[in-house]
Subunit: 449 residues, 2 copies
């Protein structure tokens, strides 16, 4: 998978006994640059040498006459020469299954184009985190390599089955490495699909690719391993940086987590919640709220309810929005709609502009047997059907107010309910708590945490 | 609009010379309750007397034999008897126009049903905020009474015209009282529609209705009046509580504000930004970042570009989402689509499940002449077309990456652009900054502020 440098460069490197990963010096006139020789990624010119400098930045220098190369020190073995996983088994450490699904944590940057491709082998992932060896006996399950935004309910079901299989064998916990974009969607889906959990199921990943100095992936992975092997949290959660420093990670309940920043390492935040725990790479775990505990006397198996009906849409309401979008989904054979309303759960129901009136269209969906749930695009807080006249109009015709559930979670929950239960049951369960997604009380300090 | 109590209650009240707003005592056996007699709202039983107690809670006591009523003190004149606005003119204070559009700040709770109806006259609004008199000479423009979620571009245009008219007469600033649900949408629309502003245009409202002890509306209104009459910010912004206490308000740029909580007083937060200023009811203003300043030497008129093409949709991408939604909008004659992508601006473009593949549908929209913009559902951070392979696929076919603009703002901007410019011009302007909606640099402390 790893492309090599052009012939001329390769000859120069070979001549100096330099291989990828070695510390080298590039010299060109007055400019002298020290850094680690990076592998050539699979796009871009083969005539540019890429090095990673001590500050984490990567620089490419084009091969021209006058370029001098010098080896400073041996580096780690380059990716092509990695052996098959051969982590030593530590008898005192628990077994943990690492389910690899893809994402930035298993990717490399091409420093000429700035693009990222998935080409890392799991061997390198673990090799770069030697700490992990003493924490747990990790067995890697190369389940798939998919960008998280490309994951669908098909893959969710396979991931859930893999988790159950691992936990029903020797693993006390599972780690799922995954792309960050839809990590919280996957976490929510697994929260509903996995039943009778008796160990931690920890999703983790990286916001920065693993060959960048600033990558968060390794700390996240170590913390995830600590949680999976030591914590007594029998829930699905997301373990990512708690802040921009590398100090600690937060472990956020799968149904309450959301990616709130496009690029920061601490992008994952709890919505209407606090993290279940904070975890340090050293293994220290500080529990921050109540959670389902691992029960040592419980010997039942983890079961999976992987069925999922994808015919549930999220529909956002905004000024001038076209309510015919509801009819579109009805006509497409959808079975449920989750509205991202404004404020406490509003949609335009009393505007004088007939073409912008949502009420008749929502009623059309309900009359056709669809389940319609209401959430808030505010994200924080809860919807409430009884405060304003407009809200009561919606509630009265049968719209189900979904309390403090995020729209994304309500959509996944309803898809899962419709995949596993009769319509009436699904309808009754939509705003009843199943996996921590609905809380009777929101704390003051659960806003913008 | 204000309904009256039932005949028997009214007889008792009249017998004691009690009118709405008076302090009264209700006695029933051992129970004795003191509070302000509330008006009977237009729903619920007419045989229940409602009083507001000192702690702000409202209690209803049903008329039965044994109920005693006593008047303790005269209250403020009740709503029905308010005179037409007759605030005294203070020559030293500047003229400010208050444009009334509806919303909770002009509403009352019915304490039997918990529902809120709009029935407050602006006279009462100002009467309850005597401080406002010394701050500015407020002239009230009763433009409309619409719940903010029912506001459309028709109303936005009217509001913009009213602002321009006021500012082009004697007003140095304008206050717009408005429902909170879509306040930020309206603020964004006005930011684009109003040109050559030379004074503050301050949107404000209330999260709690004005007859509740905990209402935030009055402080917000006083702070808005301070901004409109004293600040030199020549921009459209939102003035609401900065925190849950009544200490100060934040003034957030209209294109960077978002309602982030369904019920908290400090629900409005800047996204990828800081407030332009903090303002105290006393009139103290602390400027927190750069902004367009009022120019005393500028004598041009405020102009309005109220045209708006509502045929621009926001489309959210999520796992299992149906890309045919794009075709729906194309077939409805839409001219633009703003995608709320995941992370840095992703949509499923390389999944193996053909029915979940967005790329061909996005291409269909582009081939049909639609402008397609990409934003991130993360809210915070910026999208970037060049980091991942999947992103480059979208960028290469012509999707416009909208930097750090919120989806809601991008949609309003594109609707406004298409209403006022040729397609090519609109396309070129979408990701160029016009009103502060795009920032070249995001600060570290602009996340979850």
């Amino acid at each position: 998978m790893v492309k090599v440098y052009g012939e001329e460069i390769q000859r120069m490197l070979d001549g100096h006994g330099i291989k990828v990963g070695d510390q080298i010096r590039l010299k060109m006139g007055n400019v002298e640059l020290d850094g680690e020789l990076m592998p050539k990624a699979n796009i871009g010119s083969r005539d540019t040498i890429i090095i990673k400098m001590a500050d984490g930045y990567n620089i490419g220098m084009r091969l021209t006459s006058g370029l001098e190369i010098k080896k400073l020190a041996d580096g780690v073995p380059n990716i092509a020469s990695f052996p098959k996983i051969s982590l030593k088994r530590v008898e005192s450490a628990p077994d943990v299954s690492l389910i690899y699904t893809g994402g930035t944590i298993g990717s490399r940057v091409d420093y000429e184009t700035g693009g990222v491709s998935m080409l890392l082998k799991p061997e390198e992932l673990l090799y770069k985190v030697p700490e992990i060896q003493g924490i747990a006996n990790i067995s890697v399950d190369m389940l798939m390599s998919v960008a998280s935004e490309d994951l669908s309910y098909h893959e969710w079901g396979r991931i859930a089955e893999s988790v159950a299989k691992a936990l029903n064998n020797s693993a006390r916990g599972a780690i799922i490495t995954i792309g960050t974009d839809a990590m919280h969607y996957t976490a929510a889906a697994l929260s509903f699909m996995l039943k009778d959990l008796n160990g931690p199921v920890v999703l983790t990943g990286a916001q920065r690719s693993s060959d960048r100095g600033s990558s968060d992936g390794f700390i996240n992975l170590v913390c995830a391993a600590q949680l999976a092997s030591k914590s007594d949290i029998a829930e699905v959660g997301i373990c990512m940086h708690n802040d921009e420093s590398d100090g600690k990670c937060a472990y956020i309940r799968g149904v309450k987590a959301r990616k709130m920043h496009t690029s920061r390492r601490d992008a994952f935040r709890p919505i209407n919640d606090k993290p279940m725990a904070y975890v340090w790479p050293s293994g220290e775990i500080k529990y921050a709220k109540s959670y389902n505990k691992v029960d040592a006397n419980k010997h039942g198996k983890v079961t999976v309810m992987p069925n999922f009906d994808p015919r549930v849409a999220i529909v956002k309401v905004y000024p001038n929005s076209n309510p015919k979008i509801i009819d579109f989904y009805v006509n497409e054979g959808y079975r449920g709609i989750i509205i991202e309303g404004t404020g406490l759960g509003h949609a335009p129901v009393s505007t004088g502009h007939q073409d912008l009136l949502w009420l008749p269209h929502i009623k059309y969906a309900l009359d056709n047997g669809l389940i319609v749930g209401m959430t808030s695009q505010c994200l924080y807080g809860r919807v409430h059907p009884n405060v304003y006249k407009n809200l009561r109009l919606l509630s009265n015709i049968g719209v189900i107010y979904c309390d403090d559930m995020m729209a994304e979670v309500a959509q996944i929950k309803l898809g899962w309910l419709l995949g596993n239960y009769k319509v009436d049951e699904a309808k009754a369960m939509l705003n009843k708590n199943i996996a921590g997604e609905i809380k009777s009380r929101l704390e003051f300090d659960e806003f913008l945490v």
